[in-house]
């Protein structure tokens, strides 16, 4: 059966909670499988360190991703290098897999504009904060790809809450009408801040919303990285080489859970039960894959330790790099508003510079 012909509420699964195979294991070599494991470990470790940086006042508000590694790493691993990621604010895991250095993510949440600029050879869009407003960008990018006869797919990540926004709807409809190579990847982590999935919409599934646009929708166990990989790979293949009867876009609903707070500014104990969190923790994608890889003889204690060490070093290096970046110069305020600085902005910059010279930085920093 084609993966897209399943009932909307019948999620694709590969491994169960114990790491036992319950579906079709995708065709990945050892390195790739270990890569998924390592990148999930990295994302998890990065996340913990980022939260504590915020606690220590070394970083601003930060949106944790723990629990969502399976969906992020599993999907991003399936992408070709030329494909594009159009993320919301929580996809540092996916962006890392696609080449975004983690120090960029840290810089961004440290309030440095440079953090939003991916290296020129990394196909990751800047973080989009207004919910769902980036979905049309992914459709437009994909449309450009199609018009130019390229075969790059645009993968847009967004949350369960995002499906309520008008932009989600309009963008999906355009994707259907213009049959653009867009993968609409919904990280249904059950909560939009304090609003649970059931109160976000009365739709039976989020995958089923695809019905309104004429393209495929499919649910996947988002805590199962191999299932996510498989369904993403299938959707990418379809976007590039659609069969007669199907449109290129796919709406993937990856059912998952955010273990932590919405952001470091949020206290989830106000609105949800520990029980629920516990239930979902048992589905944690990392031990699940680890168990499978150990059972297959691909991982053992030594390799796990080595990975742990590698991951810690990588994250420590990223923190070091981000923290040693110089505070941006005030001219960066003006510099990128237009391709060429308009006269009036030059004048405003001069105003600022003059005052800085006269009264020093303390005149601004209010300390």
């Amino acid at each position: 059966m084609n993966v897209f012909d399943r009932a909307y509420d019948d999620p694709v699964r590969v491994l169960d909670e114990d790491g036992t195979v319950v579906g079709d294991v995708p065709d990945l070599d050892e390195d790739a499988l270990v890569g998924i494991y390592r990148d999930m470990r990295l994302a998890r470790h990065f996340d913990g360190r980022a939260v504590s940086l915020q606690r220590q006042g070394r970083m601003g508000t930060y949106p944790p991703l723990s629990g969502q590694e399976g969906a992020q790493i599993g999907s991003a691993t399936a992408l070709a290098e030329d494909d594009w990621i159009v993320p919301s604010y929580r996809e540092h895991g996916a962006a890392f897999v696609h080449g975004l250095p983690p120090e960029k993510t840290l810089l961004y949440w440290m309030g440095h504009g440079d953090g939003a600029r991916a290296p020129d050879d990394v196909n990751v869009f800047p973080i989009a904060v207004p919910i769902a407003s980036h979905v049309p960008h992914a459709v437009g990018g994909a449309w450009a790809s199609k018009l130019r006869g390229e075969d790059d797919v645009f993968v847009c990540y967004f949350g369960d809450g995002a499906t309520s926004e008008g932009d989600f709807h309009e963008a999906c409809n355009f994707a259907g009408v213009f049959d653009t190579p867009t993968l609409l990847f919904c990280n249904n982590n059950q909560w939009a801040i304090s609003v649970p999935r059931e109160r976000q919409t009365r739709s039976a599934t989020l995958a089923g919303k695809a019905e309104a646009y004429g393209f495929d929708g499919v649910q996947v166990d988002g805590m199962d990285p191999l299932a996510v990989y498989a369904v993403t790979a299938a959707a990418l293949e379809k976007a590039r080489n659609p069969p007669e009867s199907r449109l290129r876009p796919t709406l993937i609903e990856a059912v998952q859970y955010r273990f932590g707070a919405h952001t470091t500014a949020d206290d989830p104990t106000v609105y949800r039960d520990d029980d629920e969190v516990e239930r979902w923790r048992r589905k944690d994608p990392i031990p699940r894959l680890e168990r499978y890889l150990r059972a297959e003889g691909i991982l053992d204690d030594d390799r796990v330790d080595a990975i742990e060490a590698e991951v810690e070093t990588r994250v420590a290096d990223a923190i070091e790099a981000a923290e040693s970046a110089p505070r941006p110069e005030p001219r960066a305020l003006f510099e990128h508003a237009y391709a060429e600085l308009p006269t009036e902005l030059e004048a405003q910059h001069a105003e600022l510079t003059a005052l800085r010279e006269e009264r020093g930085d303390a005149a601004f920093l209010g300390e």
């Binding site: 601003g60 604010y89 440095h112 926004e165 109160r199 305020l333 902005l345 601004f364 209010g366």
Partner: protein, 330 residues
């Protein structure tokens, strides 16, 4: 004598909502996370528990529907108080705001009036992510049919919020979140209103009239104190309502000083400072002794927080600006 509580500005918002929810069954608070969670800034804390999910409503994540449904409710005579989580997220609901909230009364020739109050935390300075620090009140001042209120103290907040909720016309109520918890003030427990459309004098002085509002009121007063040490006395007017402006108070202060500055954190071009300047030179050109200084945010997208202190008018920048106005000699 009425009892008072010592409240922060955000507590005064909550208290104002509480009072009005209690006084009038038609008042409904609605928005993202305003219910069980009590609002991301705790502005609605405990209200869901006390008034239930029909009066304090967690909505799906859709600003246009939040505003648009409130329009429909208000047309039926209810008094919805929708919240947009940050003023930077009002734009997905912009069409509802300018095409309907602002015009429903005029369109229906007064048959339907919209007693709704659209609240949003507003302004910069709290090290927030992108889009969380917007101050675009000029958009709403440019659109007829809306009133735009921006309080700067806990006392005014409760009173202006009550006045807004009871007003027959739609009000945009922007809450300067930088000072949500900056200081406390005695706030009566009783319901009361502070009139929409009236500015208030925060400091008297004869040399320069300084017009400001919201979070900029405090650094402006700070600047005024610094200038006083040099013998420059500022009259500081807190406008409180941006639309309609209290033209009389503005012109009066200017006529007494002949010099003026306007301070806001919003971008300069076509902002409120331009409007106030235009009013002053239309109505009191002959009193004018110096260019009116615009001390404002720059005409750039609001930066990520590492640079926001350079974007926002600081007490020092305000001081220097006012000094220019004070010391200008033709």
């Amino acid at each position: 004598m009425s009892d008072t509580q010592n409240l922060t500005l955000v507590q005064a918002v909550r208290d104002g909502l509480h009072t009005e929810l209690r006084a009038d069954d038609d008042v409904v608070v609605m928005g993202q996370d305003v219910g069980k969670n009590g609002g991301v800034f705790r502005a609605t804390e405990g209200l869901h528990e006390e008034f239930g999910g029909d009066r304090v409503v967690d909505t799906p994540l859709a600003e246009s529907a939040i505003v648009g449904c409130a329009v429909g409710m208000a047309a039926m005579g209810m008094r919805p108080v929708p919240e947009i989580q940050f003023s930077g997220f009002m734009y997905p609901g912009y069409d509802q705001i300018v095409s309907h909230m602002a015009r429903f009364r005029a369109r229906s020739r007064g048959r339907f009036t919209l007693p709704m109050t659209l609240r949003a935390p507003y302004g910069g300075g709290i090290r927030a992510p992108e889009h969380h620090s917007e101050s675009k009140e000029a958009f709403y001042a440019h659109e007829a049919g809306l009133k735009v209120v921006i309080p700067s103290t806990p006392y005014d907040t409760k009173g202006l919020l009550a006045a807004s909720i009871r007003d027959p016309d739609p009000v945009i109520f922007l809450e300067p979140k930088l000072i949500y918890r900056a200081f406390r003030e005695e706030v009566p427990e009783e319901p009361y209103t502070v009139p929409i459309g009236e500015a208030t004098t925060r400091r008297a002085g004869d040399d320069v009239a300084v017009f400001t509002y919201g979070a900029m009121t405090r650094p402006t007063l700070e600047a005024a104190e610094a200038l006083a040490e040099d013998g420059i006395e500022c009259e500081v007017l807190d406008l409180r309502t941006i639309s309609p402006l209290d033209r009389e108070a503005i012109v009066d202060a200017f006529e007494r000083t002949g010099r003026a500055a306007v301070v806001h954190e919003a971008p300069r071009t076509a902002g409120l400072a331009a409007e106030i300047t235009a009013i002053l030179q239309e109505e009191a050109l002959l009193y004018q002794e110096a260019p009116i200084e615009r001390i404002t945010g720059f005409d750039v997208p609001y930066p990520l927080y590492a640079l926001e202190d350079y974007y926002l008018p600081s007490a020092t920048r305000i001081e220097e600006g006012i000094r220019e106005a004070a010391e200008f000699e033709p």
